[in-house]
Amino acid sequence: MGIRFILMVNKQGQTRLAQYYEWLTLEERRALEGEIVRKCLARTEQQCSFVEHRNYKIVYRRYASLFFLVGVDNDENELAILEFIHLLVETMDRHFGNVCELDIMFHLEKAHFMLEEMVMNGCIVETSKSNILSPIQLMEKMS
């Protein structure tokens, strides 16, 4: 499996979405999040989007005030993960319409459902936005 965790963090370093595909205790998560957020947020625009941390490689991308950080294995294709983050953001954009931090905070489950349709157990499930969103839209229609 390639992806170990996906984090969404705001400019202040607060976690807004966290999905782990391997088990870490609560303390380990907090420590890990703190460390990588500090590392990534300190980097400038000109620096590359990859940071090595412990035995992970963090691929991150910034969208306005939101940072998307994806922890991957060392042999994962970093450029592809970068593209994946963009796909995730585009998918959320299509659903929420120009997604922002508050959309994700107040619709945390929905964000998780989308993620679930895209990644399972650290592997990519689906790359078509409409395929990802159709079950979610169906659900909304029903309720």
Binding site: C48, S49, L79, V125, T127
Partner: protein, 870 residues
């Protein structure tokens, strides 16, 4: 109704958490919410279960414990409605993990849901199972998942495929059941099914050789190649298009799978050559998505079996990446070149200059990668220019990068240096630039090298003297400098051994002492540096008689030092300088050459290993005490430079070597002689140079043992000749703390009586014998020379000759000056191998030359009184 359970809406909770200004406020809000949720759970409140779970997920994300909500997830999953199940499964994946026993309770619900008529519910169950399933669940539910791989809806098939990955990883035995269904998935058109099917096949091949063989067959492989070709050539597909490329993710997964199949299989590699060439040449490289595919393609080309043409193509792509302006692209290029170096080092070498530029990049990630790559590129032919570049860069690099950079420079200089002078030069540059980042073993190694380069002693000490003038704040430079000034101070002052490349400098004795004094007084110097400076001063006091008084003053200043180590050294050294002029010169003689092999062996084994080897040797040695005790000493002081077992009296040897004090019973009376007592402490000091301060713990007890309890310790020293084990034991006392469990002196009284091999009115030579274990032919002879005249002998040289059936090896002598009146001695170890062991006794001719009042004296003799069975 419970006053809490009406609770707040999710939205309100999030608002109030967002409004918190401090962490404490947030904790308070969360505590209150958790209390309400717990109350609701206790009341089995079903109306708000959905909302409470959503809140718990939010709270969990913030990093607070939510274990009390786990059962709610299970209840929610067990309920009939889809929305409840959905939130329940989400909670299950977020709040639980496979290690919790609660999970066992969910197996049944999962099984039911996998067989549910509503395909969305099946999808939920598959997704949850794929994320959290344990080995037991995998066994229980594998048949359901297998069946779902053929489900009519592709959305279920794709999830079942990923679920299967988890199952075969948990229980690899199940892999064979999935080979056929997985092969069927590869023929699908739906991208989601295809990409998940490919991932399943990749993982199958990793866990099962049977699967690997199966998918390598042309039947499957050709299908995969065709799929890749179709994807590459597919017309515009808006749903999957990224920057003009159709589904780059699918491209990448396919290339990954081809890599797994092609690795180690020439035929399979052959099958994919064409399509890889097509991908490598046709893919647009002006967008990230295209580069991601190229990157993956290069990795596959590098991993599969050799095809020269493709590799050239791949290296060229990396070259293009390397000169790209986008940092991300350069990063992956460096990453890939690291892998390529094992395949084609020559091709990577061509990009050396560019890689070297990347070491100086502003971006820490790129710098780190590039440095690692440069390190891999170093060889004998390019070490000089590369080192120069890196050292130049060291000057201007970031503080946080200096550590990595120095470590790598030191390592490559050490590994590939063509000659010693270059090595010393480069190390001095590194030490002057970033001495504080240099690890201890690095400068230890430098000292060993310097010690071995006898023709460079003068050059080195002068270079160090110059360097330390400008870089006094670099601790390890200062340490090396004061060690060398202590040892070779005389060469610094009288310009000994000048090389023609040097600029001449004039250094007075007092200048040299200045350096040491500055080091001892500098605010940043730590205790090790100060202690080393103290020893250097003691040495200089003998080398520079004119500065003796000043040195004494500096030493005395530390008498009141709060650091025990320094205080003790100060008092002892002062006493040597003041009261023991006669032994001082012998005591502070230049260190014997340090043995490189021993040092590097030690270094490889580092400290814990040293302890273990020492306990190991103690088993082999008949009297394995002295050597183990000496082993963990700082390597610098390793005197027993050969690996041969040391004879029983080597404890004795040590003392005499270092101190030149005669500790034979004749001259030392317990409690009356100061010399051996001071001597033992000095020994301790000399031996503890560079040792971590922790070892101070042992020092007080040593002082006690040699002052209060001096009777017994001196008595032990006394007893050296008759019972060498006693001497050895007292060594252990002195070195207490080095050896965790001081090996008990074994029964190691000399098996052979000592003999007086030669005696004249002016000189006595005694031999002590020992046998290394397991080698009866070899005898170790410890020769001890004692001066019986009232005059000092200088330039003392001992030579020996043996008949052909014997082999003789002479180790370096402990010194070449023999103090007057039995006030010290020289020892030397001889190793004799008797090829006629048991038939012929040993026999030896000796020749002893020395100077007495500048007059040459020669004494010769033949030794026939060896014990018979040597």
């Amino acid at each position: 109704m419970n006053p809490f359970s009406s609770g707040t809406r999710l939205r309100d909770m999030i608002r109030s958490i967002r409004a918190c200004k401090t962490a404490a406020e947030e904790r308070a809000v969360v505590r209150k919410e958790c209390a309400a949720i717990r109350a609701a759970i206790n009341e089995n409140d079903q109306d708000y279960r959905h909302r409470n779970l959503a809140k718990l997920m939010f709270i969990h994300m913030l990093g607070y414990p939510t274990h009390f909500g786990q059962m709610e997830c299970l209840k929610s999953i067990a309920s009939a409605g889809f929305p409840e199940k959905r939130i329940g499964y989400l909670g299950l994946m977020l709040l639980l993990d496979e290690r919790q026993e609660v999970l066992m309770l969910v197996t049944n619900s999962l099984k039911q849901d996998l067989n549910h008529t509503n395909q969305y519910i099946v999808g939920l169950a598959l997704c949850a199972l794929g994320n959290i399933c344990s080995a037991e669940m995998a066994r229980d539910l594998a048949p359901e998942v297998e069946r779902l791989l053929q489900f009519r809806d592709p959305n279920i098939r794709k999830k079942a495929a990923l679920c299967s990955i988890r199952i075969i990883k948990k229980v690899p035995d199940l892999a064979e059941n999935f080979i056929n269904p997985a092969a069927a998935l590869l023929k699908e058109k739906h991208h989601g099914v295809l990409i998940t099917g490919i991932q399943l096949v990749t993982d199958l091949c990793k866990v099962s050789t049977e699967a690997l063989e199966f998918f390598r067959k042309p039947k499957c492989l050709d299908g995969l190649v065709k799929t890749l070709r179709d994807v590459v050539n597919s017309p515009y597909a808006p749903e999957y298009d990224i920057a003009g490329i159709t589904d780059p993710f699918l491209h990448i997964r396919l290339l990954k799978l081809l890599r797994v199949l092609g690795q180690g299989d020439a035929d399979a590699s052959d099958c994919m050559n064409d399509i890889l060439a097509q991908v490598a040449t046709k893919t647009e490289s002006n967008k990230n998505a295209g580069n991601a595919i190229l990157y993956e393609c290069v990795e596959t080309i590098m991993s599969i079996e050799d095809n020269g043409g493709l590799r050239v193509l791949a290296i060229n792509i990396l070259g293009r990446f390397l000169s790209n302006r986008d940092n991300n692209i350069r990063y992956v290029a460096l990453n890939m070149l690291m892998k390529a170096i094992t395949v084609d080092a020559q091709a990577v070498q061509r990009h050396r200059a560019t890689i070297l530029e990347c070491v100086k990049d502003l971006d820490a990630s790129i710098r780190k990668r590039a440095l690692e790559l440069v390190y891999l590129l170093v060889n004998e032919s390019n070490v000089k220019p590369l080192t120069k570049e890196l050292i130049d860069y060291l000057e201007i690099s970031d503080q946080e990068f200096k550590g990595d950079l120095t470590a790598k420079i030191c390592s490559m200089v050490e590994k590939f240096s063509p000659d010693k002078i270059w090595y010393i030069d480069q190390m001095l540059k590194v030490l002057s630039e970033a001495g504080n980042f240099v690890k201890d073993e690095v400068w230890h190694a430098l000292i060993v090298v310097i010690s071995n380069a006898s023709d460079l002693h003068g050059y080195t000490v002068r270079a160090l003297y110059r360097a330390v003038q400008t870089s006094i704040e670099q601790e390890s430079l200062v340490r090396v400098a004061i060690w060398c000034i202590g040892e070779y101070g005389d060469m610094l002052v009288n310009n000994g051994g000048v090389l023609n490349i040097e600029d001449p400098i004039t250094v007075t004795e007092s200048d040299a002492v200045d350096v040491v004094e500055i080091a001892i007084k500098h605010h940043s110097s730590d205790i090790t540096t100060k202690a080393m400076a103290m020893v250097a001063l003691l040495k200089l006091s003998s080398r520079f008689p004119s500065c003796s008084e000043r040195i004494r003053d500096i030493i005395v200043q530390n008498k009141g030092s709060l650091v025990l180590e320094l205080q003790q050294r100060s008092i002892e050294f002062n006493s040597i300088v003041e009261k023991h002029q006669n032994i001082r010169s012998t005591l502070v003689e230049r260190m014997p050459v340090l043995d490189e092999a021993t040092f590097s062996g030690r270094r490889a084994g580092s400290l814990p290993a040293t302890v273990s080897t020492s306990s190991g040797t103690s088993l082999n040695l008949p009297n394995g005490v002295a050597k183990p005790a000496a082993a963990p000493l700082v390597d610098l002081l390793d005197l027993s430079s050969d690996d041969a077992p040391v004879p029983s009296s080597s404890g004795n040897d040590f003392l005499q070597d270092l101190l030149g004090v005669d500790v034979s019973p004749a001259s030392v009376q317990p409690g009356t002689s100061q010399a051996p007592k001071a001597g033992t402490d000095v020994l301790l000091d000399l031996l503890s140079i560079g040792s971590p301060p922790v070892q101070n713990n042992s020092t007080p007890s040593d002082i006690l043992s040699s002052s209060q309890d001096n009777k017994s310790s001196v008595a032990k020293l006394d007893g050296l000749s008759p019972t060498p084990s006693g001497g050895a034991a007292s060594m252990i006392d002195l070195l207490d703390g080095f050896v965790p469990n001081s090996p008990k002196p074994e029964d190691n009284g000399p098996a052979y009586p000592s003999i007086v091999a030669f005696e004249s009115s002016s000189l006595r030579l005694t031999f002590n014998f020992s046998k290394p274990p397991g080698n009866p032919q070899t005898t170790l002879i410890q020769a001890t020379f004692t001066n019986l005249s009232p005059n000092v002998y200088t330039d003392f040289v001992f030579q020996a000759a043996v008949p052909k059936f014997l082999q003789l090896h002479l180790d370096p002598a402990s010194g070449n000056t023999l103090p007057a009146s039995g006030n010290g001695s020289i020892t030397q170890t001889l190793r004799v191998t008797n090829s006629q062991h048991g038939k012929k006794p040993l026999v030896m001719r000796t020749r002893i030359a020395y100077k007495l009042n500048n007059r040459d004296v020669l004494e010769e003799g033949q030794i026939n009184n060896f014990p018979r069975d040597l």
